[in-house]
Amino acid sequence: MEKVLRTHKINKYFYDPVKFQVLKEIDLSVNKGEFLSLVGKSGCGKSTLMYILSTMDTDYDGDLEIAGQRLTGKNQNELAAFRNEHIGFVFQFHYLLPEFTVLQNVMIPALKLKKYSREEIESRAYEKLKILGVHEQARKQSAKLSGGQQQRVAIARALINDPIIIMGDEPTGNLDSYNTQLVFDIFRELTHVYKQTIIAVTHDGEFASKSDKVVEMSDGMIVNTREKNVALPTS
């Protein structure tokens, strides 16, 4: 199985207010096309780990490798460029840029990457919005959308550069059950139909139980990894 993301003995400490180890010897590997849920009690270090996996946090010991590239030790500009091209991020609080339209929000990472012309980017953005079922809102100011709609736009934005991996830190944490189900279905479709890889932190047991792999953390350690037989019917 092709490995998309791999960590080796990641340790992290916080020094404020007192020194304490928030992540302990994290060894994680994620396969291509896998939908991985990261679960655990509040405060066990899930978000901290996600920030390291997303390359935004570089203050750790150990190794991080995505798509065969060792990212540990790269400088901030290289990491920014890497994030732009290969990582899509979905936050809990559907962070869209409020002054821009829905379409513009989705286009921005692609305009930054400059792999396609503006016209192509626009039509691609529109396509992604269509996958997420929010293409009718494309011309609206992003702040005018409902929470569920905004989160779907954020997922479309995370998809725009066809990233190797999509990461979400409680992407459904702020949504009602209807929208949670919707996002979950989208994630599964993305992994199964589009062979997209997804790592999502979640508190939602049901959400987790339906994913391909569940990694459970406790006190900064991975304590349990459950793999689901992918061949089984999933809904």
Partner: protein, 414 residues
């Protein structure tokens, strides 16, 4: 670049009020700068050109107030000598061989004209009115070459002075005070008590009260006669150069060569030039103060924007914008504010300057002008825009740098 520009633009237009307020600060500063600098340099140029048209570039004279070595010092040069309260020697103000010196100087191709002359304090009497003033005995043709007298004649012609040995050409201000006109005869009394009657054959106006209100011209021989001096008696040699900037360099040469005091126009007009300096200091200090205030305004507004936009900055960084990209977004905003504000400031400054230039102004006795002199030089508009953009760039840089250092994790953690 295009993308950061678009984002900057969207930020600016999504809060037009703040953008406008920040812009107005710069606009006000630059507008005031242009208006002030236009008027102040207008005044400077006017005083300078008035001074230049009425005072020689170099004046050679016998400086009798200059310290001279006492006889004791000559006899005992190495000793310590005390001479208490030495009286001035009864020296004549005469410049010896003045016509010969004038002839030598005239040969210099950088010299436009040389006018040997003699001047004296006199009293002018006309009817019951008695006024103090000066009289200059000149070769009027030479004097015209120096100061373009012909163009400044208000009545009569300069040649009248050559035809009439008892004629004088009087400053308009002096004539007005005496209530005398051309053709009238005025009585002139010298400090030595000699009295003579001369006829006004012309009136001139330099545009400077300090000259028009006290001065008259007569021929050299006429003034020599009323001062009861010999034919060679000359007190001043006035020189005009083709390029007045050379005066500073030439004056010491002449002083060394002819052993008489040679004073250049800068020294002679030191008080006037001081006024120029003070006006420049005033202009720049007021403008810089205004711009600093505008700069703080921009600094504040941009700082506030960045605090409000923390989430957006974190999001942009998470999506792969580097610190440099984020900095660019905010630097572009401050530059745009600076540029737009400055350009508007130039327009307003131009409008203000035009208004000032139209305002009626009475120069009174000192200056004969009807409107305030205002400069419309491109140079100041260029300085203005450079000023404005630099200030805003400086004011915007620090908040922008701060934005570039925002740690996205801290913001996203909530």
């Amino acid at each position: 670049m295009k993308l950061t520009f678009d984002i900057a633009k969207t930020h600016l237009f999504s809060r037009p009020k703040q953008t406008l307020v920040a812009m107005m600060g710069v606009t006000f500063g630059i507008g005031m700068f242009i208006a002030m600098v236009s008027l102040m340099t207008g005044l400077n140029d006017m005083t300078e050109s008035l001074a230049m048209t009425s005072s020689p570039d170099i004046r050679i004279y016998h400086d009798i107030t200059q310290d001279r070595t006492s006889i004791v010092e000559e006899l005992n040069p190495r000793g310590i000598n005390f001479v208490h309260h030495p009286k001035p020697k009864n020296e004549t103000q005469k410049v010896r061989n003045a016509f010969k010196i004038a002839e030598i100087i005239r040969r210099d191709p950088t010299v436009r004209g040389v006018s040997p002359q003699l001047t004296s304090q006199v009293f002018y009497n006309y009817g019951p009115v008695q006024l103090g003033g000066t009289i200059a005995g000149v070769d009027i043709i030479e004097e015209d070459r120096l100061f373009g007298l012909k163009a400044k004649m208000k009545a009569g012609r300069i040649e009248n002075l050559i035809q009439d040995p008892n004629g004088i050409i009087m400053g308009t201000g002096l004539a007005r005070k005496l209530k005398a006109q051309t053709g009238d005869r005025v009585v002139i009394t010298t400090p030595q008590g000699f009295t003579t009657t001369l006829k006004i054959v012309g009136l001139f106006q330099m545009g400077i009260g300090a000259i028009d209100n006290i001065k008259s011209y007569a021929s050299i021989s006429t003034v020599q006669h009323i001062l009861q001096k010999e034919k060679a008696y000359i007190t001043d040699i006035n020189i005009k150069l083709h390029d007045f900037h050379l005066a500073k360099e030439l004056a010491p040469q002449y002083q060394k060569q002819f052993r008489y005091k040679a004073e250049d126009w800068e020294v002679a007009n030191a008080t006037m030039l001081l006024g120029v300096i003070i006006r420049n200091i005033l202009t720049y200090s007021v403008s810089i103060t205004l711009l600093i205030v505008a700069g703080f305004g921009i600094y504040n507004i941009l700082n506030m924007t960045i605090i409000n936009k923390m989430k957006d900055i974190a999001i942009l960084k998470a999506m792969g914008f580097s610190g440099g990209d984020v900095k660019q977004i905010f630097v572009i905003q401050s530059l745009a504010i600076g540029l737009a504000g400055s350009v508007l400031g130039l327009v307003i400054g131009f409008g203000l300057s035009s208004l000032i230039a139209q305002a009626p102004f009475n120069g009174g006795d000192i200056l004969s002008i009807e409107h305030l002199p205002v400069n419309f030089k491109l140079k100041y508009y260029l300085i203005g825009i450079v000023f404005g953009v630099t200030t805003t760039a400086l004011a915007g840089y620090m908040p922008s740098r701060k934005a570039s250092h925002v740690d996205p994790i801290e913001i996203l953690r909530g």
